[in-house]
Symmetry: none
Subunit: 224 residues, 2 copies
DNA sequence: AGCGGTAATAACGAATTCTTAACGGTGCGT
DNA sequence: ACGCACCGTTAAGAATTCGTTATTACCGCT
């Protein structure tokens, strides 16, 4: 995949580190954003949907592990790769983070050339996974409750957004009406039979007829 | 994926290391083989086709980098994940091995619990690659409610899908009409005698005549 | 209270899917 | 050759499911 199509998010509380990393990664052609704390990282992850996150383990308030967990549970489309940054001295026991969803770790001090190599190795798995949310077609932004259609932002009402977001979380996957009701409306909310249809109708009006497909007798699915 | 289905190859010239690693990985349920040099590693890789290789970087004669290159060029189905073992002191410049196809590295001394975590992280990418499109014959995808015929997706109505899905769940197995009625229509649903036949007819129309076979007096079966 | 926007429902029509019924064919035993 | 049991095929109409519109209820805001 082209570096220019890859979004990397740097999360570190030290400004120096952020700048060094950002500079080196930009030099390679990647898209780069930075966050100085876990909260910002989560927001940016939701809205910007990076392919890879470089996450400092040691941070005040919310550390890398916690941030990682938040990101993993909050994200529907759970494909982001997370690489931890650790000081060389730190004990490896920290790296239980792998069990909370981290994918690799990199020790400081960081040598730029080595970093690039590692990242390329990590990013290789993106290639094998093809289907990455790109700017074509639709993209949902959970932080802003906005859906981008061919780059154009579209403000959607809550229910409509949650519905399309659910469908888009697994492209091609068919969600039964029951599942949709449980996830979007809640476990024990009772609504009429035609409610889902009406929301689908409005989504198709706004997004176009070709994204949501009806599977009669089963439910609906999203296809790119 | 189940540990018992995963093959891990250990490549190291030191017998102690090999034994420690082998013991720990077997304890987790993995299949394990060992090789004491690069040549043996290549042979074993070709014949045994491991999912993951733990490769020592420093070895006499053929080192880990060279072995890796050999394996990468020689293998057709190039899915094997290679993790390097390096002494903590060694310089990272060694890790140009990433560019020769390595996927990760792990520093010695090795702590078993950390190792297992790392491997699980690496092996995750195997899971995400699940669906290997075997383009021959039919494949039913319950998640997408779609049947693939020679790679072409086919949308089937609910009953038809459930019927072919049932038959395909045990290729070659004969399902009696009664069993089919219970599983597809439900325990206490009463339908006419010809209902199944009609659905079989439609399936044969759409999929071809050669997949569903009639066993007179008994029922139907699917054969690939 | 009035307004703007969202959410849910009802009612009807349209489309698809399912079932049935009727008839035809095949094989087997007598 | 005949009857019987079983399956195949077709077409028609039930039954289910979905789409659409209009209407009402709701909620937050000014």
């Amino acid at each position: 995949m082209n570096p220019a199509d890859i979004r990397i998010l740097i999360v570190d509380d030290e400004e120096d580190i952020r700048e060094i990393l950002e500079h080196n990664l930009r030099k390679e052609g990647y898209q780069v954003e930075t966050a100085e704390n876990g909260k910002l990282a989560i927001t940016l992850t939701r809205s910007w949907n990076p392919h890879l996150i470089l996450m400092d383990v040691m941070m005040p308030e919310m550390d890398g592990m916690e941030t990682t967990r938040e990101i993993r549970v909050g994200l529907r489309n759970n494909k982001v790769i997370i690489a931890f940054l650790t000081a060389r001295g730190e004990d490896y026991s920290q790296i239980s983070g792998f069990e909370s969803g981290g994918d690799d770790y990199i020790t400081k001090p960081i040598k730029p050339r080595v970093l690039i190599s590692r990242l390329q190795a990590l990013l290789r798995r993106l290639d094998s996974q093809e289907e990455m949310p790109s700017n074509e077609g639709l993209r949902a932004d959970r932080a802003k409750f906005v859906v981008f259609k061919d780059g154009q932002p579209l403000q959607l009402p809550k229910k409509e957004f949650e519905l399309i977001d659910l469908l888009m979380s697994k492209p091609g996957h068919v969600f039964t009406r029951l599942t949709i009701l449980n996830k979007v409306w809640g476990e024990d909310v009772v609504v009429g039979d035609r409610t889902i249809d009406v929301h689908v109708r409005k989504l198709r009006e706004k997004l176009g007829e070709n994204y949501i497909k009806t599977i009669k007798g089963i439910g609906y699915k999203y296809e790119p």
